[in-house]
């Protein structure tokens, strides 16, 4: 019973965790941040304000709704006792635009004007004491991502800070190109296919590698099957050694030793003969009728439908 309780608790814990990270919000990453916005990207009111870009690294839709954005994570540890801190910006659950498609971007304006819309947070990095921004799960307990940025540098220069390759947090750097709502990978790079065509114009390298991998895969299966065969023989031998036939049947076993030995190991010829016999048997069976048409009455007249007794009404039961 104790074990059952433990399992139940574990299942509940798993479910709770699952609901917290529904649709894998843990796949979200801060991708780019821009503060000294004087003449570039503007919001829906035409204002130039700092913005931050979030990237959905997952290959499925992720909904941001309910998560928190903040520049102060001090309430994170005590969220259980004191509830959600007021200075955290809760992303509204009623806006369908918070659902991020796979590998897509969402831009939030950091203008301390949450009443301006879903994508306007309640803090401004220009007035903030901290130099980081955090994304927190909908239950307020888990830190999904945190980006520490060079605040002074971003306030002084019109440069953004972000990930050179979308979603790769290890590659954060100052960037002279700002790309709100789109990929940071704007540098002209050679695609995988172009590189392959350049390095391997005749396909010899790919052919050699591929055929080697096919061989490796099938050789591994070959070795596994060999091991199977070996283990099967061993087990069969061990089972045979364990079973000691009764005295009275020993003579009979000795007499039919050949058959007994092969009882569970039929040969290929035997298998082929059985298969052929079955094939012939089933193919000779068919559901064709005799094709004889006659006007003679069939000999068997009996049918329960024709029985008078069954069609007659029973004696009615009188109600009292």
């Amino acid at each position: 019973m104790k074990y059952l309780n433990k399992i139940l608790v574990l299942l509940v814990a798993l479910l709770v965790t699952g609901s917290t990270f529904g649709q894998s919000v843990r796949d979200l990453r801060f991708n780019e941040i821009f503060i000294k916005n004087t003449d570039n990207f503007d919001d829906e009111y035409g204002r130039h304000v700092p913005w931050v870009e979030i990237f959905n690294t997952a290959y499925n839709t992720v909904n941001l709704a309910g998560c928190y954005l903040t520049d102060d994570t001090t309430g994170l540890a005590s969220v259980k006792k004191n509830g959600i801190p007021e200075h955290w910006y809760r992303i509204p659950k009623t806006d369908v635009n918070t659902a991020m498609q796979q590998r897509s971007f969402a831009v939030f304006y950091m203008d301390a004007q949450p009443l301006y819309g879903t994508f306007h947070v309640n803090f401004d990095p220009r007035t903030s004491k901290s130099s980081y921004i955090a994304l927190i799960s909908s239950d307020g307990k888990d830190l999904i991502d945190l980006m520490v940025y060079p605040k002074q540098q971003l306030m002084d220069t019109a440069m953004s800070y972000g990930l050179a390759h979308d979603g790769i947090v290890e590659e954060a750097e100052m960037m002279d190109q700002f790309t709100p709502g789109s990929t940071n990978e704007t540098k002209v790079t050679i695609s995988k296919q172009e590189k392959l065509k350049r390095d391997d114009p005749y396909g010899i390298g790919l052919a050699v590698i591929s055929i080697s991998v096919v061989f490796v895969a099938l050789i591994v299966i070959y070795l596994m099957l060999k091991l199977f065969g070996y283990a099967t023989k061993k087990i069969a031998a061990r089972n045979a050694a364990k079973s000691t036939p009764a005295e009275e049947t020993k003579a009979a076993v000795a007499a039919t030793s050949t058959e007994a030995k092969d009882d569970d190991q039929i040969t290929g010829e035997e298998a082929a003969a059985i298969a052929m016999a079955l094939h012939m048997h089933f193919n000779s069976m068919h559901d064709e009728e005799s094709e004889i048409i006659t006007i003679d009455m069939p000999s068997a007249h009996y049918s329960p439908w024709a029985q008078k007794e069954l069609t007659m009404k029973k004696t009615p039961r009188l109600r009292k």
Binding site: Q193, K197, Y202, S210, V213, V214, L218, L225, T267, A272
Partner: protein, 381 residues
Amino acid sequence: MFEFFKEGIIQFFGYSGFGNCTWGHIIMICVGLFFIALGVIKEFEPMLLVPIGFGMIIGNIPFTDGLQIGVYENGAVLNYLYFGVIKGFYPPLIFLGIGAMTDFSALISNPKLILIGAAAQAGIFAAYMCALLLGFTPQEAGAIGIIGGADGPTAIFLSSKLAPSLMGAIAVSAYSYMALVPVIQPPIMRLFTNDKDRLIRMRPPRAVSKREKVLFPLFCILLTAFLVPSGLPLLGMLFFGNLLKECGVTKRLANTASGPLIDIVTILIGLTVGASTQATNFLTPKSILIFVLGAFSFVVATACGVLFVKFLNLFLKEGNKINPLIGNAGVSAVPDAARVSYVEGLKYDRTNFLLMHAMGPNVAGVIGSAVAAGILLSFLY
């Protein structure tokens, strides 16, 4: 009044198939009829050629654009059915059925036969190199090369990812050559073998226990999918289907996968692939090149399989040798390639039954081509 009738008839004629017909449509309809004839009269892969042939007729009935009836028109019924081809979800379902139908006993009892399945995949990469030389992009070359695997579903799966524009030609080419296995392979088999080779008798396979049969798909999916994760849709479904068959407790699921499900998907895939060969998209010089490259890859695959067996025999003791006539079965046209080995074997020795032996490399070819597709996908996608 007369003018009205005249205009009406002319307008109707303009909407009819006769008014929109071109030589391309007629040629493709003739090809469709030829496919049906091959399937019905010669019984070459009728389950594939009849739906494809009929699909070709459907796809090449000339019509006015915008009526939402063509396979390439959004909202058309045929377009919805074609969705499974474009997105590549029909092939894994077919692999599920193949897995539920396939008995891997021949392979389990004689594991070295699996290597023939690997050797026969050389055709894929030979065709890949030739396609590159002929000016195809690496993705297109990869999709064309897979024809050499002689596996229609794999060819559709890979081309839907790498070269969707060539999918019709690649699929029709792959299925055509699969159907023509009894015509293409025997001359190559005879070319690379001598009388002594053809008379080799192979040791009868040992009986395979249920435990081995159940463990086989589990180990195989773990080994192959870890090595080539991109082949997961095909390999996963293949081995899942096989597990359903072998575990013995999911008989209904196995029956559905190997019966109604694969039949339904075969009908849909055959018909829509056939319908996708609209003359305007299909009759191009590229399609002809694809057919030539497909034939070449098939020939190379068969030759490599046969020659690899001869090579293996150099290291095998007398009594353990393999008959090179089963080398052709390394391509994954199941069970036609194995049947060709059997028929050819009987021609030289009426008591030498190679069918069960040939099924080993044949099912290995299915695994091999799925692995090869996964590798190409990981390099080129």
